[in-house]
């Protein structure tokens, strides 16, 4: 029998097969297995097998020095958790600390010294040997000495033994100057009182009221356990936190009170509060010229400030009253890159309520033993960036081995000599700064070298912890002490302390032991005991390298000498704060505010962070739906932002947390961030200001 199969019958057969295909496990199982396959690509490194062990150490990624328990398989760190009994972090870790062991594999790691040249956006990297790089840097330093040009040595983590050696290096260089970079607002206060920056700290735990000016208080600022404690605490029993900033950020969301200011009016608001405190006679201070200062800020009365800041008069009066009456209270303005006048105005509030040197205020810490060298020349004394003349620095050495420098690129470039100025950084990662020649010396990352961690800005006593190497570092990397010794040797400077990092740090530990003050947390026993109970410096050393922590005894409460209010916040500064409103659309860059902004994070962490909303997505302009409707922009469309400084194309996204009349521009890519900053107006201290902007649909 002949069977004639027609095209239609074949199609029916295929149709039946297609339906059958979806009724079989083939598509679903293949999809599932393919997904699993992507998790197990053969090139994904697998941790070696071996015995499981646990080691304790201290985190060096920020000055908090959280106690950590590192789980190792065959001596390879595979996971990190917090030490529950540790006096600083009490078991909590920030998201960056949890994955800190990934940093060894960061794609931006450098293994050889680099010379980076080229214009913005097209840097050229040239790999050098350590000797070649040292010769080039030493030549530049010698040239600077011959021509009486400044060599600035920037310390991203003051208070370490390495800091002492950086000071020694600066003291031995003609026109050398040492710059300690810490909390910028505390730096303002330290300069008023002539105190080193690392002797001041916020006593947040004993404060009753916190007035935070844009500080990511619950989003990466300070020690990580504090947010958990705050959220666990009941209103009334915990601190009363007032968050002042234009955007409804995570910190604004969690805080007890959010004050939504117009961007760029923070200093005006702070002076408005100062006015309110003076009017209500709620000040508790012995400043010299309260009356004169009152006259200076007379025009910052509630009606004027309310109009400028876009809030009610009652709100100003209420915040002023709560801040001054619900003592002890602290005003904080610690974000990097905020204008100096904001920091000055905010620190002024602390002066007015008399919290300097008080419990629950701004604590005065005793100096860490061996924190400062006896200055051989005044030039080597710690200074700040403001006191360095613009365009005067021939060589800028930056120690970024523990965390990236928080100073804005614009400020660094402002201080450098045009064309000839160079930046030399010690960093585990490529740190590109535009428009100048830069040398990067590779340093070890966390868990590869010994690092001292001292002086968090939110712990009211001096502390010292040691982060120890748990894995061998690649050959050819330098620790900060080695770096100073190498630079000094190449530049012909002989009187720099010799020895390895361990030998030099051990000497400091011996000095701390001899001082016999404070207490020591022992991570092995989980006990905290008086330092006096330790029988030898070696015992103390062993406790510290096993994840322990030395905490100084609290210093007796002593006020600092009274300062003149009109001297620290001059009439010129106050006059520069314009009391005027604007109807223009304002552009505000939103940069990474939390710890992401100051340290490199695991690439895997970036992925998780983005997915859970911890980091902003890509590059986008955030605007309130009402603003969008007013300017005729549709969500998710391309727009062109134009300021007097240039234009930038991006995508519009509506976000009700942005106040009307404001565009928040965020970016995660460093090149985009630079382009965004280039759009904005810059203050005289290189901080970025809210900038009038126009929108065009593309």
């Amino acid at each position: 029998m002949e069977i004639n199969i027609t095209r239609r019958e074949i199609l029916r057969f295929v149709g039946g097969s297609a339906l059958g295909f979806f009724l079989t496990p083939i598509p679903w199982k293949a999809l599932d297995d393919s997904a699993i396959w992507t998790q197990n690509w053969p090139w994904i490194p697998e941790p070696g097998r071996g015995d499981i062990s646990y080691k304790t150490t201290s985190c060096s990624l920020c000055p908090s020095a959280c106690g950590m328990r590192v789980r190792c398989v065959g001596n390879q760190p595979v996971s990190i958790s917090g030490l529950t009994l540790h006096p600083i972090n009490q078991g909590a870790l920030c998201p960056i600390g949890v994955v800190a062991h990934h940093l060894r594999y960061h794609p931006a790691r450098v293994s050889r010294p680099l010379r980076i040249t080229g214009k913005n956006g097209s840097p050229q990297h040239t790999a050098l040997t350590v000797d070649e790089a040292l010769i080039e840097v030493a030549d530049a330093m010698k040239d600077a000495s011959r021509q009486a040009q400044t060599v600035a040595i920037v310390d991203g983590r003051p208070g370490r033994t390495a800091s002492l050696m950086l000071q020694q290096l600066a003291a031995n260089i003609a026109h050398g100057t040492y710059v300690a970079v810490g909390d910028e607002s505390l730096g303002v206060l330290a300069s008023w009182f002539g105190q080193p920056i690392d002797t001041l700290a916020y006593d947040v735990d004993h404060a009753k009221t916190i007035l935070s000016f844009g500080v990511p208080f619950f989003d990466g600022w300070g020690t990580p356990s504090r947010t958990a404690r705050y959220l666990d605490g009941k209103p009334g029993a915990r601190q009363y936190v007032i968050q002042v900033e234009p955007f409804r950020t995570r910190s604004a969301e969690i805080a007890d009170r959010w004050i939504p200011l117009r961007p760029g009016t923070e200093a005006v608001f702070a002076l408005g509060l100062a006015h309110g405190i003076l009017q209500e006679k709620l000040y508790r201070t012995h400043v010299k010229d309260l009356y004169e200062f009152g006259n200076l800020i007379m025009e910052f009365n509630p009606p004027a400030v309310a109009e400028v800041c876009g809030i009610s008069q009652d709100m100003i009066k209420e915040v002023a009253h709560v801040f001054a009456a619900h003592a002890p209270s602290i005003a904080i303005a610690g974000t990097a890159g905020s204008p100096k006048e904001v920091q000055s105005a905010v620190m002024l509030l602390n002066l007015l309520v008399g919290n300097i040197g008080q419990i629950g205020g701004i604590a005065r810490k005793r100096d860490l033993p061996c924190a400062r060298s006896a200055p051989k020349k005044s030039a080597a004394m710690s200074t700040d960036f403001a006191s360095i003349p613009d365009h005067s620095v021939r060589v800028m050495l930056i120690d970024e081995s523990l965390s990236s420098c928080k100073l804005p690129d614009a400020l660094l470039l402002k201080k450098l000599l045009p064309e000839k100025g160079i930046i030399v950084s010690l960093s585990p990662f490529v740190t590109e700064r535009p428009c100048c020649t830069q040398y990067v010396f590779p340093s070890q990352v966390f868990l590869e070298s010994m690092a001292e961690v001292t002086n968090a800005s939110d712990i009211p006593v001096s502390t010292l912890s040691l982060s120890i190497p748990l894995v061998p570092a690649p050959i050819g990397l330098l620790d900060p002490i080695e770096f100073v010794q190498c630079i000094a040797r190449s530049a012909g400077i002989l009187n720099i302390e010799p020895g390895t990092a361990e030998e030099i740090v051990k000497k400091r530990i011996s000095t701390i032991y001899k001082e016999a003050r404070g207490s020591v947390f022992n991570a092995v026993t989980g006990q905290t005991s008086e330092l006096k109970t330790y029988s030898s410096p070696d015992d103390l050393w062993k406790a510290l390298i096993a994840g322990g922590c030395w905490m100084d005894a609290p210093s007796p409460v002593t006020s600092l000498p009274a300062v003149s209010l009109t001297a620290v916040v001059s009439a010129a500064t106050i006059k520069s704060l314009k009391l005027r409103t604007t109807d223009q659309l304002m552009l505000v860059p939103i940069m990474e505010r939390s710890a992401y902004g100051t340290t490199s994070v695991s690439p895997i962490m970036s992925k998780v962070g983005q997915e859970s909303g911890l980091r902003p997505y890509g590059c986008q302009a955030l605007l309130n739906p009402t603003t969008g409707a007013a300017v005729g922009v549709i969500e998710n469309t391309s727009i062109l932002l134009q300021t007097k400084n240039g234009s930038f194309q991006t995508r519009a996204r509506f976000d009700a947390s942005i106040m009307p009349g404001v565009i928040g521009l965020s970016a995660t890519d460093p090149d985009d961030q630079r382009n965004i900053l280039a759009l904005c107006d810059m203050n005289t201290d290189a901080s970025i200001l809210p900038t009038p902007v126009k929108i065009q649909k593309v």
Partner: protein, 193 residues
């Protein structure tokens, strides 16, 4: 009209046959274990208990599949007439070479599993996850998924994914279902540390 439907059903049936019968054969490759092992003989004849070989270390870690040294304690020389015992002694014990067992329940590197918390704290019997493996007389063939590289035991014996017993399947969803059933948290970091 009927003939037209016949072609459609023929296509449907062919594909169902391919999907449900042929596909599993193609998907999984079968590998024999390097040598045979009888749990039954060891338990019944030699009078051993499970804990003799699969024990917890002093620090709480589970020993898993015993290392060669454990076998050598009894089998430094051939004791019986089993050809597999001879292979054990000649190829592994005398050459001091670890036996490359193919592990039916092997989980990927990104999954953390603690036998201690399941056995010591939750008091699970081994058979809850491993089935009657401890009473078998021989080791069944190991089936490896050609795409994912995993053992078939992870997906379960049925290609449909339908479970017939608590030990039938060791995928994340199986772990999550059991955690839910026993009111244990199912957070990511519980297993992916």
């Amino acid at each position: 009209m009927r003939i037209q439907f016949l072609w459609f059903f023929a296509g449907l049936c062919c594909m169902l046959f391919v999907g449900w019968v042929v596909f599993p054969y193609v998907l999984y490759e079968t590998k024999e274990q390097p040598l045979q092992f009888s749990h039954k003989v060891h338990a019944e004849t030699a009078g051993m208990t499970c804990e003799n070989c699969h024990f917890f270390n002093e620090d709480g870690r589970f020993s898993g599949i015993p290392v060669l040294a454990k076998c050598t304690e009894c089998h430094s020389e051939v004791l019986g007439a089993s050809p597999h015992e001879k292979i054990l002694v000649d190829e592994y014990v005398k050459k001091n070479r670890e036996i490359p067992w193919l592990v039916y329940a092997k989980q990927p590197q990104n999954a953390y599993f603690s036998h201690a918390s399941h056995v010591k704290l939750a008091h699970f019997a081994c058979s809850e996850c491993h089935g009657p493996h401890g009473t078998t007389d021989s080791l069944r063939a190991y089936q490896r998924n050609r795409i994912s590289g995993y053992s078939r035991d992870i997906w379960g014996s049925s290609i449909s994914g339908l479970k017939t017993a608590s030990w039938d399947g060791m995928k994340m969803s199986d772990c999550a279902d059991c955690h839910t059933k026993h009111n244990v948290p199912n957070t990511c970091l519980k297993c992916h540390k």
